[in-house]
Amino acid sequence: MSKKVLLSSKEIQIILHRLACQLLENHTDFKDTVLIGLQPRGTYLAKRLTTILTQEYGVKEINLGSLDITFYRDDFRRGEKTLEASKTHINFLVEDKKVVFIDDVLYTGRSIRSALTAIQSFGRPAEIELLTLIDRRFSRHLPIQPNYRGRQVDAINEEKVQVLWQENDGQDIVYLINE
């Protein structure tokens, strides 16, 4: 097994600031925008971006939620293990809002497909965008592309992208693992 550093802590910081600025360009005061981190690991990225937007770019208030897609996945009973759910926290209306889905890695696109179904249980958004830290292009099963991407990676199928976050894993780092 080989493990290559794809993004260092410093590179992640730079990318987070760039992504925050791109969001700011398109959503200005975030009055009609809600950020939704996809459970489990998209929530760390969503919280980081919210902190940067409020503390460093002076956005007054951002509606930040987390969405669990377990019950909407299309691979129920197809894997070895029972799918375990995480918590969904959406205590605001998404009706007519601009929703930004935030996830750490975009791979096959199936999680995003599930999220698109799941969010409809909370209302009909005006539009939905996708932000992802790592975009594994060439591995999509569905016609889904991000609106905002941190880094595009041409990983082959046997390779795995692992994103670690300071608050959960003790450091910010992204690895490309070849098993």
């Binding site: 019950f71 909407y72 129920f76 009973r77 918590k87 179904t117 409809q120 249980s121």
Partner: protein, 308 residues
């Protein structure tokens, strides 16, 4: 920890504590789902479930059916009263005929104890016991414990008294097993004629003085007097039963603490509990009904995930 240790839910006695925790954690997520404006998830869209009720039921059947529909399963319903059972068909033949229609799970209520276990050995489908005679009613016990956990934070260490017709109650047996498994202290209280011999072997104590039992407990789970299961008279009159084992507002107020009142329904108002108790803030009867859907969704989801 992410998988049940069983392929069928036949009774609490087949579960372990991890199973119960997993069911409760999954039910927490489903409780959030059923409080959304759109209460349905597509998880079981490729599963067909048959609800086979050989005995009358309103709330359990409705609760299962709602749970199944909220998980997007296809549902067929079968009542023995309108079926070939009346013509002498055996249980296995009845169920095999239904399974030939490509049914994946069977939720069954049957008047005979052990009917679910028997069926699980003879047919290829996941079986959920929705009550087998006076034996077990596992999903009722799970939703009762879940409701206690929700109200009091934990089941372990709590004092729970089960009051009434213990002898004929499948709810009582399943509840005793579930509560003991989670570390609760359990008493049963009722007329001596309605308390089975050797019940202490399940780790419970017997109390025939309702006031003493209520003073001891954190939760009183009141059971319905099951007149339909009584072939002889077990107490002199309903009036006398109510005087000794019925809970009314005055009795509750005379206790030196506030206890939680539960009832699996249907309530004989004025017999086991009076209306003002059933409708009071201390009663969590309607929470039990709501939690029933979430807990049954969790059970069906976890069992369905084991069907390959």
């Amino acid at each position: 920890m992410s998988e049940l240790s069983v392929n069928h839910l036949l009774g609490i006695k087949y579960l372990n504590k991890n199973d119960i925790n997993l069911i409760f954690e999954t039910a927490d997520h489903f409780k959030e789902v059923i409080n959304r404006s759109i209460k349905k998830v597509p998880s079981l869209r490729d599963i067909t479930i048959a609800n086979i009720f050989f005995e009358n039921s309103t709330r359990t059947k409705l609760s299962f059916e709602l749970a199944e529909k909220r998980l997007s399963a296809d549902v067929i319903n079968f009542s023995a009263s309108q079926s070939s059972v009346k013509k002498g068909e055996t249980l296995i033949d009845t169920v095999n005929n239904i399974l030939s229609m490509k049914v994946d799970m069977v939720v069954m209520r049957h008047p005979n104890p052990g009917a679910g276990v028997f069926l699980s050995k003879h047919v290829k489908a996941a079986i959920v016991n929705a009550g087998d005679g006076a034996h077990e009613h596992p999903t009722q016990a799970l939703l009762d414990s879940y409701s206690i956990r929700e109200k009091l934070g934990d089941v372990g260490g709590k004092n729970v008294v089960i009051v009434g017709d213990i002898l004929h109650s499948r709810v009582a047996l399943s509840n005793i097993l579930a509560l003991k498994l989670q570390g609760a202290n359990v008493k049963v209280c009722g007329p001596k004629t309605l308390i089975p011999k050797h019940i202490e072997s399940l780790g419970v104590t017997v109390e025939t003085d309702l006031r003493k039992a209520l003073n001891w407990c954190d939760v009183a789970n009141m059971l319905r007097v099951q007149n339909e299961r009584m072939d002889i008279s077990y107490f002199p009159s309903t009036r006398e039963y109510t005087q000794q084992f019925g809970v009314n507002k005055a009795l509750l107020q005379s206790l030196d603490k506030e206890i939680v009142i539960m009832h699996p329904g249907p309530i004989n108002r004025g017999v086991e509990i009076t209306s003002d108790v059933a409708d009071s803030n201390q009663s969590i009867i309607l929470d039990q009904v709501e939690n029933g859907v979430a807990v049954r969704m969790a059970v069906l989801y976890l069992l369905a995930s084991k069907i390959k």
